[in-house]
Amino acid sequence: MTKTVIDVRDARQTFMISAGAFRGKRPLHAVNGVSITIDRGEVLGIVGESGCGKTTLAKMILGLLQPTGGDILLEGRPITELTRLEVARLLQPIFQDPYSSLNPRKSVGNIISLPLKVQKDPHPESWRERVEEKMALVGLAKRLYNLYPNQLSGGQRQRVAVARALVNRPQVVICDEPTSALDVSVQSQILNLLQDLRYQLNLTYILISHNLAVVEHIATRVAVMYLGRVVEEADTASLFERPQHPYTRALLESVLTPEPALGVPDTQLGAAYPNPVAPPSGCTFHPRCTQVMNHCSRIAPRPVATETGHVECHLYAADQGKERAIS
């Protein structure tokens, strides 16, 4: 068994956006050259503001979007060579809103057993048993088998979504904002469940969230995305204790922890999120950066290796990237 489950190499996704009825289409680089590897048993957190490309990246890994450039390797095989069913056996998603991700016309049992049906599982007589086993695993009582989603609470629905994702024993579960539609007390139950399942079933997670406290709590590694690129990637501990990229620092500062004495932080991130159709030149973060230098607006930074990952910022390049500015 290989150690790396998912290997994303310079993946790109470009959408052509219509600029108006009589104007041509313009490219929007939703994911602009992302390279990332995910090892077995890891929990990779992906954070960033809305529109930074985190969901697009997840869709490409799930095989729902064909990358317009670069490669994605699942267990060493390019995703383009795998059939949809093969990808689905390996990866399963859990979505944000359990109110819209479950078919309201199907019973809980039907919803959870659907992946078995889709994969043409050869033992239909064992389905009920396996579904009930998974229901027990995620903490759903057997008597809920014949109920419909509208008869369940938000937390129970999200448990159904987790059970459905696990019924085919996938290697990787991609959780896109798994708790942001849930109440605080229910959120902690689902987070605890995801943690327990990870150890019991030796799962690998990709956790996409804008809630940095949740990411810090669950992830083992974190990638920070900005305008389609991973601007910093590191171990959870190093990223949260020693953030390098100015954007990561600003992002961490804006997290409101429940400490009453501290007040609201001033992140100095003045300008709004840039228009992704016309991204800023050079380093795309330069208009909002507090440590901007002259050449930042002209030259895009290259990834610089750090202790546990990489960062894309001139501050950490040799000679702060000035050498390239002159040549």
Binding site: E49, Q189, H210, V255, L256, T257, T267
Partner: protein, 337 residues
């Protein structure tokens, strides 16, 4: 000028539903001073939004509202009739809603929507209204304000729209703002900016602010005083420090255990959780609403309604049968376990 800008005493909201009477808000009492921020925090369905709508008299037509006292700036607003209430709403009492896209009219320009309230409530001309709109847009941090006035809501980003909403609320110079989840739909970076802006404007104009949210992080950082709601009732009230440092009601204690706190909660450790679900508020309600989820529930909890009682410090009160000493011990035990 009354020192208390809003006083609410024993506010109750009942809504008839097919299966009986839904007691959405049950006997809520609080007050807000000038320049003070009160945060009402609770999970979905606890009645926090209906409380704010009840104050503004914007409840659905079939809902019935009763209260012993509902005073704005020393003036009774409980029985003043729709006409006089309409003169207060948007004038001295402003409201900011959660989703700025749905609360701005997509068919009108920003300037139309900003100036409307001022022209309705004050004797000003169009030119003067335009001037104030530009002034306030700049105040809330929008650059090139006079150009923005000609734009429509869809041309603005989420953060800008919420800034426009705030500017709109400020047009008539209100002395009380009710903000219902003003930052929930926004990114964390924008959220911090909007909250900072609200706090600054509130100081500058010396307004009372009621902030309704489910985000405990926001509450801790913004609130002077905190009111925790559960199942239609207030269960704990106090200053932000009192509620966050010494949560006394078992529900408040449970809620604070549920969130990972960077630096305090060990990474990957089990989070606390509250078993069970929120009770139905339809029909007769008796005893403590939290009893069936509470780890310390006793027989007397369900026998009768539980009264508010004082905690150790002045200004800090909570609803529970347990004494402050026992509650503090419970909190300690939880930390060790």
């Amino acid at each position: 000028m009354a020192d208390r800008i809003l006083e609410v005493n024993n506010l109750t909201v009942d809504i008839p539903v097919p299966s009986g009477m839904l007691h959405a808000v049950q006997g809520v009492s609080f007050s807000v001073g000038r320049g003070e921020t009160l945060c009402i925090v609770g999970e979905s369905g606890c009645g926090k939004s209906l409380t704010s709508l009840a104050i503004m008299d914007l409840l659905p037509a079939n809902a019935s509202r009763t209260a012993d006292k509902l005073e704005h700036d020393g003036v009774d607003i409980l029985n003043i009739g729709e006409n006089r209430m309409a003169n207060i709403r948007g004038n001295t009492m402003g409201m900011i809603f959660q989703e700025p896209m749905t609360s701005l009219n997509p068919a009108y320009t920003i300037s139309n929507q900003l100036e409307e309230a001022l022209l309705r409530h004050k004797k000003v001309g169009r030119g003067e209204a335009r001037e104030r709109a530009v002034f306030l847009l700049e105040k809330v941090g929008i650059t090139a304000a006079s150009n923005r006035l000609r734009q429509y809501p869809h041309q603005l980003s989420g953060g800008l729209r919420q800034r426009v909403m705030i500017a709109m609320t400020l047009m008539c110079g209100p002395d009380l703002i009710i903000a219902d989840e003003p930052t929930t739909a926004l990114d964390v970076t924008i959220q911090a900016q909007i909250l900072l802006l609200l706090a600054e404007l509130q100081k500058e104009f010396h307004m009372g602010l009621i902030l309704i949210t489910h985000d405990l992080g926001v509450v801790a950082r913004v609130a002077d005083r905190v009111a925790v709601m559960y199942a239609g009732q207030l269960v704990e009230q106090g200053t932000a420090t009192q509620v966050f440092e010494n949560p006394t009601n078992p529900y408040t204690q449970g809620l604070l255990d549920c969130i990972p706190i960077p630096g305090k909660t060990a990474r990957g450790a089990h989070l606390g959780s509250i078993p069970g679900i929120v009770p139905s508020l339809i029909g007769d309600l008796n005893g403590c609403r939290f009893a069936d989820r509470c780890p310390y529930a006793k027989d007397e909890c369900v026998a009768k309604d539980i009264e508010f009682r004082a905690a150790f410090e002045a200004g800090h009160s909570y609803r529970c049968v347990l004494s402050p000493e026992v509650c503090a011990k419970n909190a300690q035990r939880k930390l060790i376990a």
